[in-house]
């Protein structure tokens, strides 16, 4: 193997682990600034903070792998939370039924997104911008614009604050969701097709893939995780609210991108997204511990995202150049 080829492999290697590398850089930085960050109590806080972004990111990943984006997840999360509240309080449904219904609402929202995009060929940006407004609006109308307390359903909080043995519930939730999505993406024909659609839409059609179907599946997954995230958030604060989750879609996209998934589609993994969500949370939590103003925290998050992606683009170009010369 020539030196040049070896150089190329190293770059590929760095590329594959870019999410992990950026995580360790951020983590090392904050741990030297404030060792408190690894105290058991704080770790639990980090876990609670990361859960929502991680869940949303898990569903956002397949969508971004198809080369598309879902802007509606924050609103769908609020809609799912609202439906949960209404089902429990107004309709008096049993808790498990209400939870299933709330999650189902998310799934349906995703199905609608996917169908509009794949079948009616409405640009994904416009479609999900539309459903972002529509879902939020429906939630606000149904709830009359105010939150409902769910204090009367203490068992609901088990979902976020409970423990199974020594493992906290949110961790179980994250592990379960990530195992499933990772399995779909890496070990099933569905996953292969999702990557194929994102990598080259025309070629995917010409090898006989029903491209529409797999775009719909990706959006449905995203809607489903938004529904789960809505239930999780309601359980955390023991309230149903139509105004939660504002701008969360951007956090989910940021987690995916920090996780090394290309916005151009065709590559990336849900494992990376988990690390990306964690990086994002550590920045936010670390800034908080350091007493940095929450306003400034946004600036830090923005800087980290742009610089990580800039490095990634730079490395991709380097890798490409090796080939042009060869």
């Amino acid at each position: 193997m020539s030196a040049r080829e070896r150089g190329h492999t190293t770059l590929e290697y760095l590329g594959r682990y870019s999410a992990l590398i950026s995580f360790f850089i951020v983590f090392a930085m904050f741990i030297t600034l404030t060792p408190k960050i690894v105290s058991p109590f704080n770790l639990l806080i980090i876990l609670h903070q990361v859960t929502v972004f991680a869940i949303l990111g898990a569903g956002m990943t397949p969508v971004i792998i198809t080369g598309r984006i879902d802007l509606s997840v924050g609103s769908v999360l609020a809609l799912s939370s609202s439906i949960l509240g209404i089902a429990l309080i107004d309709w008096g449904l049993a808790l498990p039924l209400a939870v299933i219904l709330a999650i189902l609402i998310g799934l349906i929202a995703g199905l609608i997104n996917g169908t509009l995009i794949a079948k009616l060929k409405i640009p994904f940006f416009i479609t999900t911008l539309g459903t972002m407004y529509a879902a939020r609006g429906i939630a606000l109308v149904l709830m009359g614009g105010v939150a409902k307390s769910l204090k009367g359903f203490p068992t609901l909080s088990y979902l976020s604050t409970g423990w199974i043995g020594i493992i906290p519930m949110p961790l179980i939730l994250i592990i379960a969701i990530y195992l499933i999505v990772d399995f779909i993406l890496s070990s099933t024909p569905v996953g292969r097709y999702i990557y194929a659609v994102g990598s080259n839409y025309d070629a995917a059609k010409l090898v006989g893939i029903d491209v529409d179907k797999y775009i719909i599946i990706a959006y449905t997954l995203s809607g489903l995780t938004a529904g789960i995230a809505g239930v999780y958030m309601s359980s955390r604060v023991l309230a149903a609210s139509p105004i939660i989750g504002v701008l969360y879609e951007l956090y989910a996209i940021a987690a995916v991108v920090l996780g090394g998934t290309s916005l151009f589609g065709g590559e990336g993994s849900v494992r990376g997204t988990l690390i990306g969500a964690l990086t994002l949370t550590i920045i936010s939590n670390g800034c908080h511990l350091l007493g940095i103003s929450p306003y400034l925290e946004y600036v830090v998050v923005g800087l980290v995202i742009v610089s990580m992606v800039a490095i990634d683009v730079r490395m991709r170009r380097l890798r490409g150049e090796y080939i042009e010369k060869a």
């Binding site: 080829e5 190329h8 492999t9 779909i184 070990s187 099933t188 024909p189 569905v190 292969r192 097709y193 990557y195 194929a196 990598s199 080259n200 025309d202 070629a203 995917a204 059609k205 010409l206 090898v207 006989g208 893939i209 029903d210 290309s262 065709g266 590559e267 490409g320 080939i323």
Partner: protein, 500 residues
């Protein structure tokens, strides 16, 4: 000075040692149409690119107006009076004709404001001298392809080009549009402008050429006065390469023949029924732009066409989507593998197994990765694909290896029918020879192969039967001893109209 342009002993060797041009001479007289004729890969475009400075020549010299020059890029060529009319047009659709004609040097007032009156005058003048009937105030996007081409010529003329190079200018033109172009060419000639005319179409040599230079395999066969040669001579000069197919044609032509499909093409008032047999290679021949890709895509369900029907055992099956065609048992290797065939940022493994992934899947949607690897490895080795590993991204492979990956994909799937669309375009000679072997072997093993190609020697050497296309229409069906390169070429590019 007899020649305004002379290219002497031009040699161009591409990285990897491929000799694209070998000691080629070319010259041009004032006010003549000099046709550059040759098959794909004969070196026509390379010669022009050397002239324009796109490719750096390895040896030889270029003499322009009696003076040795070293043109570094197309821009310099342009300032020296050489303009090219490209196949893919280079106009700005949202500007007017007049603006497009003046775009390189707008007439300015106080060196900042565009003088619209002067711009319009210039455009009118150029269009009028060439007798081109196009409104200078029309937006270019409202013009058809032929009119745009004429506007490009007017632009070159308006900037005082002395040499205009046209690269296959008629491929997309209708008959009256072609006549219009030829009239403009004659006007240019009368005004002392020299034209280098690159073409596939033999008859055009006789329609507008003064002299013709034939290239073959990067070598110059000769330069002739058009008045002194006939079609048969030229055809013989262009062809004559058989060595690539040594051993291929002997490989099993027999085998069990069974009709798997019948393609019905309505071409004008005529109906062509073309059966597709297992164990046979069916050729679809025709020059670039004759509609071969459109035809095979229509068969495959990737393009909807009313005039193409697909029949199986007496029943109309005409696939609506490629998905249905694949399910029926058809595989398709697209003409442009980078754009339509490959998943560039996915691995070699995934690119190969993608078409057969469901067959490699166990219950619960789980891909059996062990079996997948084994199956992919088999075809990977059989085609001797050069890649670092099965995990390497396809993006990093060479052209020939990329093509092999697409072939491997279908060999892994093993469909009943495989359609190859220009399978050897832009790949190296050894891979080409390998591709020919694969095509014949597939047929020998009982697969039905459809081969669409603009290289007539491929069709002649590999196919059992062939249909010939010309400007989107079927012009003939050829089989048996009639299936020769010479015959195909005369059917596709010259003979037919002359006989009529």
């Amino acid at each position: 000075m007899e020649y305004i342009l002379e290219m002497k002993n031009i040699t161009k060797i591409f990285p990897g040692g491929f000799k694209a041009l070998d000691n080629v001479d070319f010259n041009l007289r004032k006010g003549e149409v000099h046709v550059l004729l040759g098959e794909n890969g004969a070196g026509k475009s390379t010669l022009i690119k050397v002239l324009l400075g796109v490719h750096k020549r390895d040896s030889g010299k270029v003499i322009l107006w009696g003076e040795e020059v070293d043109i570094k890029n197309p821009r310099e060529a342009f300032t020296r009076g050489i303009s090219v009319i490209y196949q893919e047009l280079s106009l700005f659709p949202h500007l007017t004709v007049a603006e497009n004609i003046s775009i390189i040097r707008y007439p300015l007032r106080k060196s900042i404001v565009i003088r619209r009156d002067e711009m319009l005058r210039r455009a009118r003048e150029a269009l009028k001298s060439l007798e081109i009937d196009v409104d200078p105030l029309e937006l270019v996007k409202n013009l058809n392809l032929s009119e745009r081409q004429l506007v490009e010529i007017a632009r070159a003329f308006s900037y005082g080009a002395k040499i205009i190079i046209m690269d296959e200018p008629t491929t997309a033109l209708s008959v009256p549009e072609r006549r219009r172009l030829f009239n403009v060419i004659k006007t240019l000639k009368a005004r002392g402008i020299s034209i280098v005319y690159i073409t596939h179409f033999l008859e055009e040599v006789f329609e507008i050429g003064d002299r013709v230079t034939v290239l073959r395999d990067g070598r110059k066969v000769g330069t002739y006065m058009v008045s002194e040669v006939d079609e048969d001579t030229i055809l013989r000069l262009m062809t004559g390469r058989k060595s690539l197919f040594a051993g291929v044609s002997e490989e099993g032509r027999a085998g069990v023949k069974e009709e798997v499909l019948r393609v019905v093409i309505t071409s004008g008032s005529r109906k062509y029924e073309i059966p597709v047999y297992t164990g046979e290679v069916l050729g679809i021949a025709g020059p670039v732009g004759a509609g071969k890709t459109e035809l095979v895509k229509a068969i495959y369900g990737a393009l909807r066409r009313r005039d193409v029907e697909v029949i199986h055992k007496g029943q109309r099956v005409s696939f609506k989507t490629p998905q249905k065609a694949v399910k029926f048992g058809i595989g398709y290797l697209p003409e442009d593998r980078d754009v339509e065939g490959l998943f560039m940022n996915r691995s070699v493994l995934e690119n190969i197994s993608i078409a057969s992934i469901w067959e490699l899947t166990k219950r619960l949607l789980l891909i059996n990765k062990r079996v997948e690897r084994r199956r992919v490895m088999e075809v990977f080795n059989a085609l001797s694909i050069r890649a670092r590993s099965l995990e390497q991204k396809v993006r990093y492979l060479s052209g020939g290896n990329k093509q092999k990956v697409v072939v491997a994909r279908w060999l892994c799937k093993r469909p009943k029918i495989i359609i190859f669309d220009e399978p050897t375009r832009g790949i190296d000679i050894p891979t080409k020879i390998q591709m020919y072997g694969i095509i014949r072997r597939l047929a020998a093993q009982g697969c039905a192969v459809i081969l669409s190609s603009s290289e007539f020697n491929e069709i002649a050497s590999l196919c059992d039967r062939a249909i010939v296309l010309r400007q989107g229409e079927v012009v003939a069906e050829v089989k048996g001893p009639e299936l020769s390169e010479h015959k195909l070429m005369s059917l596709a590019i010259g003979g037919v109209t002359r006989e009529r």
